[in-house]
Symmetry: C2
Subunit: 334 residues, 2 copies
């Protein structure tokens, strides 16, 4: 049996820059037709020139792969409608980070004063630019996302025409919020479908599974699996694949991020098959996203997977992937 996926999309991806970009971009381009590219470089992407220049560096890194980087800006409440109009054609979404909440997010939003955000969010609503959010408060690590749900709700109520994407959701509270507000959507990562905090810190401590938001409880993973496996129409796949060099992970202070780009489709295929949900995988990894982001240009790319062992490399360049050294059941065949 072979499994065919049409134009898979990764709706949340970190490609970094420079050498790291050159290592990881071709790996995403091998599996996916396109990806939403996160803007948290140092400094973050906040200008038209910065965005176009980053896009060009990504295209260079991809080589002759057929892959579109969907570009984003790092949210600033100083963006005017005029500015957003001028960049609209280059822009797929704007990513909002609460200040200091994850890697390179120091310049993010502090507090969520609707009046402070109103001009920019109104302009985004009018221009049809989705708002992508890393939804965590500065509270206790296991509570941060659930606490943020009230902020999602406040934003959803105040800006009913704004499409709000709850990125990389990890809790049942976020899953439940999906159906309460028409304009709330979500991405779900591979790793949050596969692991809980037990996998990160229940046996030995596993730095390569440490990410933000941190993996939560078994009942949270169940809630995520439920909407992913049925391809809930407001949910799409976003890997949040986030490479760090090995020395930054196996260290006294370990950076947050799980690198999954080269294994994502293989593992998702196995998961969906195991749960008799293969018929929903196409929607989860591409069709839903195309409906949510209504005007994406998506290159045609057919990905074929077969039940054939795939030994995950110990490293890609200097990056240790999830499931390094393990044998996966499905392979992408060319």
């Amino acid at each position: 049996m072979s499994i065919t996926l049409n134009s898979p999309l990764d709706m949340h991806l970190h490609l970094r820059d420079n050498e790291m970009l050159k290592t990881v971009a071709p790996l995403s381009a091998k599996s996916f037709s396109g990806a939403i590219i996160m803007p948290n470089l140092v400094p973050p992407v906040t200008t038209k020139e910065g965005l176009i220049s980053y896009k060009n560096r990504i295209i260079d890194a991809i080589g002759d792969n057929n892959f579109i980087p969907y570009m984003t800006l790092f949210f600033k409440s100083t963006y005017t409608k005029e500015f957003l109009k001028s960049i609209r054609d280059e822009l797929t979404a704007i990513k909002l980070y609460p200040a200091g909440i994850t890697t390179n997010s120091e310049g993010g939003v502090s507090g969520f004063d609707i009046e402070e955000l109103r001009e920019t969010l109104t302009a985004m609503s009018e221009l049809g630019i989705p708002l992508s959010i890393h939804g965590e408060t500065n509270g206790f690590v296991m509570d941060r996302e659930a606490e943020f749900v009230s902020i999602y709700e406040k934003l959803a109520l105040n800006f009913p025409e704004l499409k709000i994407i709850m990125e990389h959701i990890t809790t049942k509270e976020s899953v439940e919020a999906l159906d309460r507000f028409e304009n709330l959507y979500a991405t779900i990562t591979l790793h949050h479908l596969m692991i809980t905090l037990d996998d990160v810190a229940g046996g030995m401590l596993e730095p390569h599974l440490f990410c933000k938001p941190i993996a939560k409880r078994p009942e949270d993973r169940e809630a995520l699996r439920e909407v992913a496996l049925k391809a809930h129409p407001k949910v799409s796949f976003g890997s949040d694949s986030a490479p760090h060099p090995q020395h930054a992970k196996e260290a006294s202070h370990c950076s947050a991020g799980v690198f999954t780009a080269p294994i994502a489709l293989q593992v998702l295929t196995e998961l969906f098959l195991e749960h008799s949900s293969l018929e929903n995988l196409q929607a989860f990894v591409s069709d839903n996203a195309q409906k949510i982001y209504s005007n994406l240009k998506v290159p045609t790319k057919i990905i074929t997977l077969e039940e054939k062992p795939f030994l995950v490399p110990n490293k890609y360049g200097d990056v240790v992937p999830m499931y390094a050294g393990k044998e996966l059941k499905y392979s992408i065949v060319v």
Copy 2:
């Protein structure tokens, strides 16, 4: 102002063996009059010969320091009363590990069938040997200790004459259990008084703060602080100082254990002073333990601390301590 502690005791200590023992034993002996030595070597300490031989290696490692290692056996339900009588004079407690729950605990107890444990626990009750327990189930990492409370209660009810020490408690549930059963006691570590899961995994991931049981929620730390700072008579200090070489901590799979022996009294002094509880520190670090373990022989040792910066070394041998490179407010003066 100088602060004087009489014969501090560490009621839960890992000294390991061989080179590591030689590195860490003198550091404990510098601060403490004695310590309860955990038996989870490879293989664990389960025989009289093994126990005496380990004790002698510890005494060699301590050199001319005035320090008594209080020895323990690794619990086996096959220990007979006759065997325990034969080793009684050498033995301060028996440590029970659920199978596989932490470093070198593979040979521990599976299930807690009272009938299977009855002969050994009855003999311990009759001989006045305390039972020291690492109380965690195999459940979700944040729930393991709270889930184990029902096992503590079952043991406490079935063996009312047995002194049961809930080791290194980390939750409010364990604190609450203390007052429900006359024969339940507890040790509390330095690190569980100082950190929560936020410190381990809320910012970057901090392998040197990863331990078992894992640090819990802020309200759990509050409950621990409350009983420690008032020196609840059933609670004593046990560092659970657990050295691992740096390469085993800053690694793809990181071992559990925080190394605190050389900084414990300095940090406790600051904590108790900050909370206007200095008058209870002596009871927490020595007097309570001497009452709970009623027949300890305790060498006289006066430890004097002064408000004088102590720069924590980046390493002791190959072991990175808690607060490495930080300046503490209090120093031990000779």
